[in-house]
Amino acid sequence: MAGGDRHPASATAGHGSFVEVVAVCVRYLPLLIMLAAWELVGRSGLVSQQMLPGVGAIATAFFDLLQSGELVTNAWRSLSRAATGLGLAVIIGIAVGLLMATRPLFRTLINPLVRILYPMPKSALIPLVMIWFGLGDASKIFLIFLGCLLPVIVSAYHGARGVNPFVIWSATSLGASQEEVLREIILPAALPDILAGCRTALAFSFILMVSSEFVIAKDGLGFLIGSLGDGGNYPAMFAVILTVAGTGFVADRLFGSFVNHCLRWKEQA
């Protein structure tokens, strides 16, 4: 999806060949340049240290937060909410999407809801989940669940609808039961679409996790960012923001390699 997937060579650079090491360095040099530019702008006094804390100050603040346990506690609260919402959304979303593709009555009943909810910016539901579930975990989990649910439903539905009907007919004529058709044919054929939907849902789970914690500030990484910012501790605020961004990045990359692992049977285009 993103740039890193286009460079399989750099992913296997662990063999220690000098050329490969140089290639990786050259590839990631722009990041170092940006980091150096950041540090230089901060030092030169063009902008105040308040506005742009130096890289060193941010790193120190990061380790302080790590040692005090604040970062770990809040990260755990945030990520467990995101994982619960996302996990529920994936399980229910796949089931609903497959049912919509195989049961016309079910589709007629569910499709209007999907078509109303899909284009709606889910962050608009934050005040609603506050009214329904209060300020605790439930409201955030429900919001993340709903936000992640729709991409999974839509991708599972499209994936399952795209299955060649001839394959299903042959399997049925060879005596496959409905359940076997679902497990052996529809699910594998829809898997690439489903996994792509799950990857979108993963990105949504992070967005909704952080936004809901900003607005319904009680605990979690979003709350930590807000309270550090309100207290004027900007190096620590930057450190937590970069932690959230880094976690989102790593989660997406891990899921990307999981997708490649799941689809290794598929012919590469």
Binding site: R27, L31, I126, P127, L128
Partner: protein, 260 residues
């Protein structure tokens, strides 16, 4: 053909009936007291609120502000990201510099950067628009880059051998061939921009639907919250439909539109 359209019409009718049924259940459940009206105000109350807000013009002020912020950020992102994506695919040096930055920026939850933009640009429209631009930018640049770099070399070579200049090449070959991918990037970016707009409005205030809804939420005005959700749902649907239409209009020549 006629049976197919009849079938489609019947499915549309069925879906409309399902929606009407849901609306009835909604209305009945709060009128009959099955659900507390604070948790689920009656549909009619929400519609009445929507209507009075429309009469007073408050809806249009909020909708207009939200739409203005979302579209400004989105358009700025498109103006920056499309040329950059094309340049990345065409010029090795540009690709070298931006590829690692964008492949790291793309999967990051950009919304986490809101407090930094508040710190830098205060809480008014500037920081909202910059935040929206920032979150729309990455999907557009990624899609443009991938669309442009997957263009077959043969049309490029033929055009060049027939004497096309670089600007002709860009206008006649690259842009049309990359257009479906660019449009997809825009179609991903716009909903992301809408989500970001709502969240920035909720966090920074300054009217707009997000601001109005969070105010309604704080005052426990659940009718107001539901009216806001309806407004946003309609706005989101209209904006996404408009982009679908634009795609069909711009890519009339493309095989993807030939099936119908």
């Amino acid at each position: 053909m006629s049976t197919l359209s009849a079938l489609l019409k019947r499915e549309g009718l069925m879906q409309a009936l399902v929606l009407a049924g849901l609306a009835l259940v909604w209305e009945a459940s709060s009128r009959a007291g099955w659900v507390h009206p604070f948790l689920l105000p009656a549909l009619s109350d929400v519609l009445v609120r929507l209507f009075t807000d429309m009469q007073s013009g408050a809806v249009f002020v909020d909708l207009g502000l939200t739409l203005y912020r979302a579209l400004t950020g989105f358009v700025i992102a498109a103006v920056l990201a499309v040329p950059l994506g094309i340049l990345m695919a065409r010029k090795r040096g540009v690709q070298w510099f931006f590829d690692p930055l964008i492949s790291i920026g793309f999967p990051m939850p950009k919304i986490a950067f809101v407090p930094i933009f508040i710190l830098w640009f205060d809480i008014y429209d500037t920081s909202k628009v910059i935040m929206i631009t920032f979150s729309c930018f990455f999907p557009i640049v990624t899609a443009t880059y991938s669309g442009t770099s997957h263009i077959d070399k043969w049309p490029l070579w033929s055009a060049r051998s027939l004497g096309a200049s670089e600007s002709q090449l860009l206008r006649e070959i690259i842009l049309p061939l990359a257009a479906p991918s660019i449009m997809t990037g825009l179609q991903i970016a716009l909903p992301v921009g809408m989500i970001t707009t709502i969240v920035t409005e909720m966090l920074m205030g300054g009217s707009g639907i997000g601001g109005a809804m969070i105010a309604a939420g704080r005052f426990a005005d659940s009718v107001g919250v539901f009216a806001g959700i309806m407004e946003i749902a309609i706005l989101g649907m209209v904006v996404i439909r408009a982009l679908d239409r634009l795609r069909a209009r711009l890519l009339v020549w493309h095989p993807e539109n030939r099936a119908h």
